[in-house]
Symmetry: C2
Subunit: 351 residues, 2 copies
């Protein structure tokens, strides 16, 4: 920190992304929930075609991409905002819908960035513990007196809350915004996007990073009623109106036109998740009921940190979190069948 850094950030501790190994990647990388499949051929084609025109600014309104998203999700283009990853839009939501009088409200065990977004935007936040089984009690969020952020499925647990229970939360917060972060929704959970037509206090964020294999291209979006999208655009246009580059806009359109490719990859990943869970069970692991592209697993005889380290030494990266309630667990991305077989082999040596 320099002597010039604003004192308002005295307590700010940035988010720490999962490790990205440098140089030749000799690791089996199961630590950041990336897809084992390349982006769709159409996404690649459109992206490649866009490159030669990058001397021109990207469309700040993401007009064609929003139209394609609107078509895909059965909403109007005015109900959609695009961002440089869904992190971008979540940050906008903390900025637009929280302030000193409107705290952020989220679970103790959830996406770690929520706490950082709250600290960065200098808004108070209220933490609601998950139940002992890591599930959410919807009633805990009724009349939240703040802006609610729920990852569904939750990270790093993978547990999904049924849409009916989320609707109860939305209904019981007529004076509060509810943000549902659906980064992992395509792997077995049900999306709340249709509810955005019914409720004026709901924002649903999604990403192209996971199911659409575009983590490196950085593309996220949110769906909400038009007025909330206007608010988010006010923040966007006051910080970085060109936040989505033109190559990524093209890739996004290509990916949406290739929906069957995405759906097929999601089916494969869910199948691999199931198979991996069977193998992990044989090894004595316990795990949550995941609707995401990762498994949140613990072993009764081995601390989570020990398994993480042992796997790392054997060339497999998974994600370990130090937080007290979950330190026995590791979050393991569901990769290809081949990667998961290697994981199980290594675990057999360790356990």
């Amino acid at each position: 920190m320099s002597r010039f850094f604003s004192a308002k950030f005295d307590r700010l501790i940035p988010y720490v992304p999962g490790e990205q190994p440098k140089g030749k990647n000799v690791f089996i990388k199961l630590n950041t929930n990336e897809s084992p499949f390349p982006p769709s051929p159409k996404a690649q084609k459109y992206a490649a075609e866009a490159i030669e025109k990058t001397m021109l600014y990207s469309d700040p309104e993401c007009f064609r991409l929003r139209a394609a998203l609107a078509d895909r999700y059965g909403v109007d283009a005015d109900n959609v905002i695009c961002g440089n990853g869904s992190d971008d839009i979540l940050n906008f939501a903390f900025s637009a819908f929280c302030d000193e009088k409107t705290p952020a409200v989220f679970a103790d065990i959830t996406y770690g960035f929520y706490r950082v977004f709250a600290e960065y935007n200098r808004v108070p936040y209220r933490i609601i513990p998950l139940k002992d089984d890591f599930t959410i009690d919807p009633a805990d969020y009724f009349n939240a007196e703040g802006t609610v952020f729920i990852a569904n499925p939750n990270a790093p647990t993978g547990i999904a809350l049924p849409v009916g229970e989320i609707e109860e939360i939305i209904k019981n917060n007529p004076e509060n915004i509810v943000v549902i972060d659906e980064a992992y929704v395509d792997f077995g959970a049900v999306s709340c996007v249709p509810l955005t037509k019914k409720y004026d206090n709901l924002v649903v964020t999604e990403t192209f990073s996971k199911s659409r294999s575009l983590a490196g291209a950085r593309l996220g979006f949110a769906v909400a009623n038009k007025e909330l999208i206007t608010d988010l655009n006010t923040v966007r246009n006051s910080t970085n109106p060109y936040n989505v580059n033109s190559i990524t806009q093209a890739a996004g359109i290509g990916s949406l036109e290739d929906r069957e490719y995405t759906d097929e990859n999601c089916r494969k990943i869910m199948q691999t998740r199931k198979q991996t869970e069977i193998e992990l069970k044989k090894l004595g692991f316990v795990f949550t009921d995941s609707s995401a592209n990762f498994i949140f697993a613990a072993h009764p005889d081995h601390p989570g940190g020990e398994i993480y380290k042992a796997l790392r030494e054997k060339g497999v990266l998974i994600r370990h979190f130090d937080a007290d309630r979950i330190k026995d667990y590791n979050r393991i991305t569901v990769g290809s069948d081949e990667q998961m077989e290697k994981l199980i082999q290594k675990l057999r040596c360790i356990i």
Copy 2:
């Protein structure tokens, strides 16, 4: 605005980017200072190669890109931060180095986003008028009691401040940060990057949007001493650690390896600027001494808004600003020789 939008943004008026025509582009587009030349062949090649791996996250540290930038500018990689355009980094600087006690200080006529960044980050700002001839008096910025933001060359005037005068401003602000925004520096001005080795209160921001023909790819960077870069990274990693996508990182590296291509394009644009200025003079225009890829021109017999509208009707887009002191002027991007010949033809009909 929705009923949920935070009252803290009551007065926030977002930045309005230059018009991006939709559909088939029939306009001669001289309104957003884009390059008439495509990105370098190497930038295009590296970008295309990166696409198939975008299922993996981009390197949040931009390790290879920062190394290439450090090599190009004769600094260490620790002196460099990359962003999603230089707007991204300028916003970080307003956040990191301004607060209630540390206002932002900038000119009345300069990049319009500074005022928006200040409003968005809710920091006070002090406006220093340019002299009558639109030049900066360095002494106006001595002991600024705030964080100084100077675009050099300035926008939309194109006028460059000599490095010696900037150094005087830096020297006379030992307790304040000075940010020099060099978006247009490659078209005839001299960069302050070497001064970052000498002064711990200097941040220089640059972009790949103009001279490197990568506006649509969104890539900017800043050079400063290591401590200031750490501060900017704290903000970056608290909002969007993956702010630069992997295709753009690859394009940036390719562009840096193809320096001769960039240099040659800059020479061509400066030559075209000179030729266009000769023609504008013949038509009775007056203009500032531009060191940028645009010309800031007024005509004694025709209001700026009138010329802007007349050109638009004839299919040529230039940029007009409503602010009082500059409403007689228009900012005209220097495009290709062919584009500028057409501009002059149309102006001959109008004048």
